[in-house]
């Protein structure tokens, strides 16, 4: 696929608030990106015109019932056929923060056996409790399957901001060790919270902002084309978004968030 053919759909709904930054990040890298209201996609039935789908961050439907669940069910009730085709064709899907919550509630992630009818995991109340808005460090753990991390070497520590109250990933208690083994064996684990030096957070605040199981911040499905993470790469795209830019003598032009957007573009331009 040529770079100018790549068309990104950033699917928004009432309560979405990170669509513009995400759109700008993709456009900066030379691809077409549109912020499209889900009801427009339902009306026009044109989801399959896009090569990449993004669920951006925000508070869709006011986070009512559980974060992401109403958007997820709205989609499965109204756009299931197009979603199924999009997924079956292996097109990439990215979920950021609330987008990750939507994907988990939809059953797209973890996706141990394809899309599940009911959620196989949950992103729930932070521990310690409360909304956390800060920069965190993440270690890249994926060995090559994830389509969104090809530009980030295994073991590299990157820094991205988070802003959420419900980001603690958990699995059914009785299955968590077995599911963790599957995540690792099938190369579905992508980012884990760590310290600046790269030591895993081991659930401890502040390195872990939410007490997530096994310090998990991002995972992909078995095929690697569906990826969700709680931190916001679109808020770490440019040098002027870095928290310490006023103290630096020399800044890189881009922040670590760029690596995620660039990875999927490189993947699409090289493989198809």
């Amino acid at each position: 696929m040529k770079i100018e053919e790549i068309k990104v759909c950033i699917m928004r709904v009432g309560g979405t608030n990170c669509d513009s930054e995400t759109q700008r990040a993709f456009q900066e890298l030379g691809v077409q990106a549109e912020s499209v209201h889900v009801n427009e996609l339902i009306k026009r039935r044109n989801l399959l015109d896009y090569s990449v789908l993004v669920f951006p961050g925000g508070f869709s439907f006011g986070d009512y019932v559980r974060s992401g669940v109403i958007f997820a069910r709205h989609l499965s009730a109204n756009l299931a056929k197009e979603m199924e085709t999009f997924i079956d064709e292996g097109r990439p899907i990215l979920g950021i923060c609330n987008g990750f919550q939507i994907m988990v509630e939809y059953g797209l992630l973890p996706g141990f056996k394809g899309v599940s009818a009911y959620p196989e995991a949950a992103l729930t109340t932070n521990e310690p409790s409360g909304f956390k808005c800060k920069w965190v460090h993440l270690k890249q753990e994926n060995r090559g399957k994830c389509a969104f991390t090809g530009k980030i070497p295994v073991g590299k520590v990157i820094s991205l901001p988070i802003a959420h109250g419900e980001g603690r990933l958990l699995f059914p208690k009785e299955k968590e060790e077995a599911l963790l083994k599957t995540l690792i064996d099938e190369d579905m684990l992508v980012f884990r919270y760590c310290t600046k030096e790269g030591d895993f957070a081991e659930g401890k605040y502040p390195a872990s902002p939410n007490g997530s199981f096994y310090d998990i911040a991002g995972i992909c499905n078995r095929e690697g084309n569906i990826f969700g993470l709680m931190p916001h790469p679109e808020r770490a795209m440019y040098w002027w978004q870095q928290p310490d830019w006023t103290r630096q003598q020399q800044m890189m032009e881009y922040g670590d968030g760029k690596l995620i957007f660039q990875s999927i573009i490189d993947k699409l331009t090289k493989t198809s």
Binding site: R73, Y118, A122, P128, S129, L170
Partner: protein, 83 residues
């Protein structure tokens, strides 16, 4: 016929409960001898059904499809006819 289904969604045992722990700590600070706080959410769904059994079945389906996440939630349902 009209029914009211009360669906209470609560946390499964074994999962940590930061909301309850924070609430409990504050109640202790306010001077109450509190051991723990469990948090649940109560939905009262007003619906039409042809029988009590059908209303219960619908409430069960709603819980599974929307109101509870089986990873972490338990739910109980109690349905009554509304006259």
């Amino acid at each position: 016929m009209k029914y009211a289904a009360k669906i209470e969604v609560s946390l499964k045992p074994g999962h940590s409960n930061p909301e309850g722990e924070t609430t409990s700590r504050l109640l202790v600070e306010l001077g109450y001898k509190v051991q723990a706080v469990d948090v649940s959410k109560l939905y009262t769904v007003h619906l039409d059904a042809t029988s009590l059994a059908e209303a219960e079945a619908k409430a069960e389906e709603m819980s599974k499809r929307l109101l509870a996440n089986p990873t972490k939630d338990n739910y109980t349902i109690s349905v009554a006819e509304v006259k």
